[in-house]
């Protein structure tokens, strides 16, 4: 039996690193998953937020959501986010453009990983490629 224990330990430490990943997945399974949050510009110049992950509240602050047009007439949006927590955080952002009737016209599907030091401000700039794109929806995921 004494010979069995070192072998078991060796198996655990060398051959089974996926145990750690499994543990990580189990932990994630026990806590609510990170949910995607949205900020959408509106025609009247204001913006609408949809918070689906309450853990982001108080940690990431949306300072501004500005909308303008390029000289060629394409819509532009700029969002400013600040890390309000005392720890460095990584936020992940992407965006999509909507037509006046709400259809999604363009999308940037991949997440842009944005590490943020405490108090740091991140700027997200989005410029539409299509003339029919008028409103921008920022997608935000904290990790």
């Amino acid at each position: 039996m004494n010979k069995f224990l070192p072998l078991l330990a060796l198996g655990l430490s060398v051959g089974c690193t996926s145990l750690i990943k499994t543990g990580d997945r189990l932990e994630r399974g026990l806590t609510p998953p990170d949910a995607v949050n949205y900020v959408t510009t509106k025609a009247d110049g204001t913006f609408e937020t949809q918070i689906n992950d309450q853990r982001i509240a108080g940690k990431i602050a949306l300072l501004a959501a500005r909308k303008s047009k390029t000289p060629a007439g394409f819509a532009q949006a700029q969002f400013e986010l600040r890390n309000d927590s005392y720890l460095g955080r990584t936020i992940n952002v992407s965006f999509e453009w909507l037509a006046a009737d709400g259809r999604v016209t363009e999308t940037q599907p991949n997440w842009i990983v944005t590490p943020l030091e405490p108090g740091a401000i991140a700027r997200v700039d989005a410029t539409a490629l299509k003339a029919e794109s008028v409103e921008c929806r920022l997608r935000l995921l904290s990790r």
Partner: protein, 181 residues
Amino acid sequence: MNKLLALAATAFLVVGCGTPASYKDPNGRELVVSLEKVDIQDFATAGSTMLQSMVNAPAFQKAGAAPVLQVGNVLNDTASNFDTSLLLTKITAPLVNAGRVRLLDSDPAAVAARKATPGAAVPVPEFVLKGKILEDRSNAGRTRQASFVFQLTLVEVKSSLAVWQDEKIVTKQGSKNSVGF
């Protein structure tokens, strides 16, 4: 008996604990993050960021409704082998599909067809997009760091001047590859 039990337990642990292959969203957050190569999500990050930068360039905004763009040489100066169209398509596809540029086909067959049609209205490129992908590595103890540098330049053909340039650096750090961001 003990030896047999130990061998069986070790074999079970080593063989049985692997993660079975499964499909993942290529734009999702559960992709493999490699330290030794440019990952598919790195191309997406660099491409989408640089696309936004390029369409905001004054020279690009001042260009006509749909200028003719030609893709030039993008040098892969990293240790890994990949097709640079993984980066370029992230930029050209949205522009072409939105009607913001007309892409001049650089395929040898298309070039030969243009040459073989005298008198035809051959489009002349107004802009050429070219670039370079580099890498930088360093380590401290067991921690390794890999930075991949994506550099792109937009050249206005009539003046031969670079009218837009950008650089996006993707840096990854760790002791081994992992899953997710």
